[in-house]
Each structure stands twice: as C-alpha cells, then as structure tokens.
C-alpha cells in the first residue's frame, strides 16, 4: 500500500528531502543520484526519438512536399508549428486583440516572456523556445520523480518520470509550447508545498498558471495539503501556506487585469478562444460527443485520438486514486482533463492532460506488473515517434 504524504509526519528533516535542497553534492553515489541519471537518460533518449522523427518527416517530406521547408533552411520546423507560431508572435510583438478573430491573447504569457528574455541576450526565439521547452521538461521529470516519491514508492516514482518521458503525446514537451516549463512549475509547486516551502510553492504555482491555465487547479491540492497540516503549522507558516493556495488564482487575476487594462476586456483570452470554436457552456460535453460522432473521416480520426487519450487519462486517474495519490491531486487532474470538454470539443485534450500529474502515477501503479511496464515503454516509444512524425496532420 502506498504512503500518502498528506498524512505523513513533518518531512523537512528527512534525509532524501534534504538531498534535493542541498544539491548535487549529496546525490553522489546515492540511490537518488542513480535515479536522476536514469531519468535524465530516458529524457535524452525520448528527446532523440522526437527530434529524429521530426527530422525524418521533414527530410522525407511525407506525405506532402509543400508542407515542409527544407532542413537546411529551417531544421526542426515541425516543432515550431501550430501554437508555436502564436507564442512567437507574443514573444516578438506582445499581445494584440483582433476583434472577432483568432488573437494571441489566447496564449498565456510566461513562456513567451521567457523566450523574449532569452532573445534579449542574443538567443534566437526559435532556439530559445526549444531550449526552454526541453530543459524545462527535464526539470519537470526530476521534480515529478521527487513528488512521486511522496505519493508512492521510489520505484513507482521512477517509473512515473520514465513514463512521462515516453508518453505518446510527450512530443509536445519538445515543441515551441509551454508544456515543458509548465510541467516543471506544477511538479515543483507540489513538491515545495510537501516540504513546507510554502512561499516558493506559491511562486511555482503562480508561474505554472502564467504558463498554462491548468496551473490554476494547483490551488486545490495545495489547499488540501495546507488544511491537513494546519494544526502543525506555526502562525507564520499558516500565512505562507494560505499565500501558496492563493498564488495561482492571483496570477490568473493578474492576467485578467492585464487584459482589462490593456484591451478593455478582462476575458479577452477566453473571448479569443471562441475564434477557435471553443465556447464554454454547460452542455459542452454533449456538444463534444456530438462533434465526435458527426465528424468526417479525416477530422474524425484525430478527434477520436483525443477522445481515446481522454479516456486513458480518466482510467489513469482512477488508478492513481487506488494507488493512494492524494485526492486533491486526483481531483485537480480530473478538472484538467474534463473541464475542457465544457468548451464543446475533445480537441487538444490529449495535450491538456499532460499536466495532470496523477495520470503518470496511475500508469506507474499499473506498471508494477513487469509485462505492463515493458509494454508501456515499448508502446510509448513507438507512439512517441508516430506522434512526432504526424505533427503537421493535426495540431496537438
């Protein structure tokens, strides 16, 4: 039976947790250092698969030549496609709201702000964006492992990180998208909260929210954790814990305030989503199913892909619950996966779910069986390559 940290004693003084905060010096030769090395290797291997696959698709110009620029002119162009272009316009020109049309205000600000900052020191936006995404992903995997150790066993935590590295939709973590950075921020927020570094946890939660709207759901597991530990906390810590809980909504509020003061529309980001066909309403899930069932042959295949991933996420969340992952995290994951359906489509749910961390815990729990572990790794690797090669078919 896995241990849940929400009911565990004060962990601030435990040796493994100190190791994280005191750095690499403590890691040398330890079991954790070996886990870190292993995770870093799986990260590197999975990224080699992604980069090789997109280069191969670009070299083969499959299935249509006109889709691809030449490798010499623009290598890894696939990784900068779709929303990557929008994030680049935000980094290069800032936000602009075009009435009744697609606008870049739909894309959250942290990642383009970081890309812009790298640009200020001479790193081209394309290079800086890919660097941020991939390094952020590595940090995210290590933080996921550490957080996973507080939920499950060490072996489970390691599998969590490895499955995340090999996750079929994980090619997004290597694209000019904020998911890599967001994963790091979400996992770090959870980890720091467990270690009672509340203010840092709040900062990470705010950054997660500024990277992706899903970050705001961090308020839930942080609130549950703070509530459970309330009696153990000193008055100062209580204030810090509450700050951590409020941090993600505060960051979202800042984005809303920016849209209001700059464009006169506090919901400009939400309004812009309408141009992509996303309209939030109570009957959204019904519309999503109707769209799925009535979609044409080409469109339908990709919608079904997203619907299947949605189902997989839900099953994994159920397994995570069974494995003992704190309920606050599972509910937060469910909100990340299911709430987008209220916009009337399954589109991109596969990508949104990448930030539902208990999904990886559920997979790791199932992967305790050897044959499933091997299957997950093999199938994950193959699907990761397929997903990477077909990026231009349909936006992730």
């Amino acid at each position: 039976m896995a241990a849940s940290l929400e009911s565990a004693p004060d962990l601030r003084v435990s040796v493994p947790l100190r190791a994280w905060s005191t750095g690499i010096r403590v890691l040398g030769g330890s079991e954790r250092a070996s886990a870190y090395r292993s995770i870093a290797l799986w990260w590197a291997g999975s990224r080699v698969l992604v980069f090789a696959a997109v280069l191969a698709a670009q070299a083969l110009r499959w299935p249509r030549e006109s889709w691809y620029p030449s490798i010499s002119e623009h290598p890894f162009a696939l990784l900068e496609a779709w929303d990557g272009r929008w994030y680049r316009t935000v980094a290069e020109h800032g936000y602009l709201v075009v009435p009744q049309d697609q606008s870049n205000i739909a894309f959250f600000p942290l990642y383009p702000a970081l890309v812009k900052a790298l640009g200020a020191v001479g790193i081209p936006h394309s290079v800086g964006g890919l660097l941020l995404a991939n390094v952020g992903f590595l940090v995210g995997l290590l933080a996921l492992y550490e957080l996973g150790r507080t939920w499950l066993t060490d072996a489970d935590a390691k599998r969590m990180a490895i499955y995340a590295a090999l996750f079929p939709f994980g090619f997004v973590f290597s694209m000019l998208y904020p998911e890599g950075v967001a994963l790091a921020a979400v996992a770090l927020a959870g980890l720091l909260a467990v270690r009672r570094r509340w203010l840092l946890a709040g900062l990470a939660a705010a950054l997660a929210t500024l990277a992706r709207p899903e970050g705001v759901f961090l308020a839930l597991p942080l609130a549950v954790l703070a509530a459970r530990r309330w009696r153990e906390l000193s008055p100062n810590e209580r204030g810090s814990a509450l700050t951590a809980v409020l941090a993600a909504p505060a960051a979202l509020g800042a984005f809303i305030a920016y849209a209001w003061t700059t464009f006169g529309d506090p919901l400009a980001s939400q309004t812009a989503q309408r141009a992509w066909g996303r309209i939030l309403s109570l009957d959204g899930p019904v519309r999503a199913v109707e769209e799925l069932l009535s979609s044409d042959a080409f469109q339908g295949e990709w919608l079904w892909r997203d619907a299947v991933f949605c189902l997989v996420y839900v099953v994994c969340l159920g397994l995570a619950l069974r494995a003992g992952v704190p309920r606050g995290w599972v509910v937060s994951g469910a909100l990340i996966v299911l709430l987008p359906l209220f916009t009337g489509t399954f589109t991109s749910v596969s990508r949104f779910g990448l930030l539902a961390l208990p999904v990886y815990a559920g997979l790791a729990f199932a992967g305790r069986r050897r044959w499933l572990d091997v299957s997950f790794r093999l199938v994950g690797g193959v699907l990761l390559v397929v997903g990477s090669m077909t990026i231009l078919y349909r936006w992730p």
């Binding site: 935000v90 936000y95 049309d101 204030g239 305030a257 920016y258 464009f263």
Partner: protein
C-alpha cells in the same frame, strides 16, 4: 488574542498573494504593449467589420471603369464591372463568370486585383488582420482625399503592396491601391446604395 492572530495570518496571506499578483502583472507587462500603430489597425478592423462597400471606380492599366459589389449570400459576392465583366467572390477566392477567361498568371492576378479594388470588405479585413497578427507596421502616414484628412494604411504582405486610405475621423475606407511587378492600380470606394453592399 486568538482572533487577532487569525486576522494577522489572513492579512499576511492576502498581502503575499497580492505581491505575487503584482509580480505576475509585471512579468506580463514585460511583453511589448500594443503600439499606437497597432491600436489604429485594430480600430480600422472594427470599422471594416461594420462597413459595407457599394463598389468603386477603378483606375487600372491607364483606364477607369466603375464596379458595383453586391452581396449574394454569406460568403458570396458578385462584382460587376462597367465593361461587362462579372466576378464572383467566394470567401477570398475570385472566379470569373467567363469560363474561357485569361488563365495566365498575369490574367489571374489582374482578375484578383479587380476584385480587390472593387471594394471587397472581406479581402481588406483578411489582409489587415494578417498584417496585424504578424506584427508588421500598419500606418504609412497621414494624407487627404478631397480635402478630408485621412490615413494611409498598409494591409496584407509587403509584396504586392496593398494599401487602404481611411478617413481620420470615421476610419471609413475611401480608397484602395495595389502595386506589384505586373499590375498597378487604385480605386475610389463608394458606400452602398442599398443594404446589399459587400
């Protein structure tokens, strides 16, 4: 005493969250704010969304010809030129009503230029939005049309060079122009006489 501690805790938490909120606002503000140029472009987009054209007088290849523009359906417009030529605009695609029309690149471009100069709002909107989204300059500078103060606005790509002249006060389109290596021309736009303008 205890209630004071609760108040202090709550106040501290709210202050901390407010600090994070202000910090977040500062981070977002580090991104470029819309320029005056872009704001003008957005205002022109808003004006175009409510504007309808009744046609234009085209000045193309050394001759002038009048054109009327009529809305047929949601995405279909009929452009009728004074010389009898009829063009069908479906979305942003231009079709000639004469099947055996000139199919050379120059002929196809000339047809598109006529549709563009005839006052199609959808073409102007698409071109201006595309330019704004790419962060390219929009305002060329002030000008005047028949004594009326106006702005020259760049729309679309840099090549071919396409411009709109809009009234400074109302942002109503007054003139359109087009210049490429093969074709150059401009038009004087006129408001619709009926509700069926395009």
């Amino acid at each position: 005493m205890r209630s004071r501690a609760v108040v202090v805790t709550l106040a501290g938490a709210v202050a901390g969250a407010a600090l994070i909120g202000f910090g977040s606002f500062g981070l977002i503000s580090s991104l470029a704010a819309p320029t005056g140029d872009e704001r003008l472009g957005i205002r022109v987009v808003e004006r175009l969304q409510s504007w309808r054209s009744g046609g234009a007088v085209l000045h193309l290849e050394g001759r002038s010809v009048s054109a009327s523009c009529r809305r047929l359906a949601a995405r279909r417009r009929l452009i009728q030129l004074g010389d009898g030529e009829r063009l069908l605009l479906v979305g942003r695609r231009v079709r000639s009503q004469i099947p055996e029309g000139d199919r050379s690149p120059a002929g196809l471009e000339l047809r598109a230029v006529k549709a563009y100069l005839a006052g199609s709002r959808s073409l102007y909107l698409a071109a201006l939005k595309a330019r704004l989204v790419r962060g390219r300059d929009v305002l060329i500078g002030p000008t005047s049309v028949g004594g009326l103060p106006a702005y020259r606005i760049r729309i679309g790509n840099d090549r071919p060079r396409t411009e709109l002249v809009v009234a400074q006060e109302t942002l109503t389109p007054l003139e359109a122009s087009y210049r490429s290596a093969r074709v150059s021309g401009w038009s004087s736009l006129r408001p619709p006489e009926t509700e069926s303008g395009c």
